[in-house]
């Protein structure tokens, strides 16, 4: 279980996260959503150790990991898919998957991992993780590097960002599969209704605070207020 206690984070005099308290249970699929600038990505980065909170503590299965660096958190079972997949010169998809699994992976095993994110594997394993790949391909590879680790807590920061709608529709299937098969906790930052629909619980962030947390049926009312407003206007007319 992951527990955040009283997390605060400010930059340039602006409160990004304001006294966040949150508990995430094992085997649940969570989606964090909220308007731009609500602190979603910052919260995810604080869990991975990419950003340090100004105040508060983070516990993973009862262990205080607040001061632990990124690599130690990774070894404890936290995985993180970056919103902008990182590119490398000279490092192939196969190299990256070997590093992810931390073992001498065979090409066949690497292909199996890639197949899970919908990539026709043999075409990709020996390609460099660089700008020659499309945004959608890089995104899938990024997701594959996290899935390959079988993390206890997998964080995906806006998987839909920077890819076209067609690619995203296919990605939704990948997340459905993760929701079905993952034995750990999954935390996805997303604005997309298709992803929100998969969630066991939705966390709605607004202006650095948790506005609502619960099953989608309960949170959807808060998220889709504008639609209701429109209907009311229509009725009045």
């Amino acid at each position: 279980m992951l527990e955040l206690k009283d997390i605060c984070f400010s930059r340039d005099g602006k409160k990004i996260l304001d006294h966040i308290n949150l508990k995430l249970s094992t085997e649940k699929f969570y989606v964090i959503t909220g308007p731009n600038g609500s602190g979603k990505s910052t919260l995810a980065k604080i869990i991975m150790g990419i950003e340090k909170p100004d105040k508060g503590s983070i516990f993973l299965n009862g262990e205080d990991i607040t001061e632990k660096p990124i690599d130690e958190r990774a070894k404890l079972g936290i995985g993180f898919a970056f919103q902008q997949p990182v590119q490398f010169k000279g490092i192939t998809v196969y190299d990256l998957l070997k590093l992810s699994t931390n073992k001498d992976l065979t090409k066949q095993e690497a292909c199996n991992i890639l197949s899970k994110v919908g990539l026709c594997a043999m075409e990709y394993v020996d390609r460099e993780v660089n700008k020659s790949l499309s945004g959608g391909e890089l995104k899938r590879i990024e997701i594959a590097t996290v899935m390959a680790r079988k993390p206890y807590l997998a964080i995906f920061d806006e998987p839909e960002a920077g890819i076209d709608l067609w690619s995203f529709q296919n990605l939704t299937e990948v997340f459905k599969e993760i929701a079905k098969t993952s034995l750990g906790t999954t935390l996805v930052i997303s604005h997309q209704e298709r992803i929100l629909n998969i969630a066991d619980e939705i966390i709605l962030l607004n202006q650095g605070t948790i506005q609502k947390i619960g099953p989608k049926e309960e949170v959807f009312d808060h998220i889709f207020m504008p639609k209701k407003c429109c209907k009311e206007v229509a009725t009045c007319e």
Partner: protein, 305 residues
């Protein structure tokens, strides 16, 4: 040859150099072993100042190893090797120099290699340079490569200098005629107080001639590197020069690109990027469980692969 010398040779060639169809091994300024075949002839120049290599036309899949090793501190070895590659021939040439300097005096090798490619000849030229030894005498390498390419010829040149060379000035000059292509990839790693300067001058003389020059360099500690490229397009031609460098510690890299289009149809591109290892690259690898040092090594090894 003793064990150390054999290891040095293998470091340069990548395997036992005597496995090739033809070879010429030079040690401390003297040719010590040679093999030729009906298609590939190697002839010594006067005063043992180098060799002429003749590849007959239509020779296919030939391999030629011409490594040099220096184990004598204080020695300066200057060698002129000329490669004459016949029409339609297709060969792989592996050259380079390994210096093991355990003494106090400088050891230096200047290899001047001239390539003459006849029409439609194809050459893959691999050059590796390295320095070993615990002495405080410098290991100095100053390779000069001149390439003359006739119509339709094709050459790939991969050069690597990844450890132990204190001072180097690398000079590459090429003249390309019609429909010829030259692809150069250079990788250099400098550390401590080492210095490396590399200069390319490519003259695209014939129509549809093209070149692609890629330089990947890593300068660590207090080392210094300088990359100069000078590409001239005289006619309808294409050139792409890419200089990428990573700097670490007090490492310094200077890139001086020059492209000169003398014809409306000359298409010349230069890209240069110098910087430290990107923070997000480190973070990504650390998020896979690597320490910061391991992540740096993976990034640099990949970059120079």
């Amino acid at each position: 040859m003793n064990k150390e010398e054999k290891e040095l040779l293998e470091e340069v060639v990548g395997e036992d150099p005597t496995k090739a169809d033809s070879y010429n091994i030079r040690k401390n300024g003297q040719g010590i072993k040679r093999k030729i075949n009906p298609n590939i002839n190697i002839v010594s120049k006067e005063n043992n100042s180098g060799i002429d290599i003749y590849v007959k036309e239509d020779t296919l899949f030939g391999t030629i190893n011409i490594p040099v090793i220096i184990t004598e501190s204080g020695l300066t070895d200057i060698v002129y090797n000329d490669f004459r590659i016949g029409k339609n021939a297709n060969v792989i040439i592996v050259a380079g120099c390994g210096i093991s300097n355990n003494g106090h005096k400088d050891a230096r090798h200047d290899g001047i290699h001239r390539f003459y490619l006849e029409e439609n000849a194809k050459v893959k030229y691999i050059e590796r340079h390295c320095g070993l030894g615990v002495g405080d005498g410098k290991k100095v390498l100053n390779p000069v490569t001149e390439i003359y390419m006739k119509k339709g010829s094709y050459m790939v040149m991969d050069t690597t200098q990844i450890k132990g060379v204190d001072d180097t000035i690398r000079t590459t000059k090429a003249d390309l005629e019609e429909d010829s292509t030259l692809v150069i990839t250079e990788k250099i790693l400098t550390s401590n107080d080492q210095q490396a300067k590399t200069e390319f001058e490519v003259n695209l003389k014939g129509e549809n001639a093209s070149t692609h020059v890629t330089s990947r360099s890593v300068a660590t500690d207090n080392s210094y590197q300088e990359f100069i490229s000078n590409i001239t397009g005289n006619t309808k031609c294409y050139a792409h020069v890419e200089c990428d460098a990573i700097i670490k510690g007090n490492g310094k890299v200077k890139a001086v690109p020059e492209i000169y289009a003398k014809n409306i149809d000359a298409n010349l591109i230069h890209e240069a990027a110098i910087g430290k290892i990107a923070g997000e690259q480190l973070m990504k690898l650390m998020s896979l469980g690597l320490s910061e040092k391991q992540a740096e090594d993976v990034i640099i090894n990949g970059f120079l692969k």
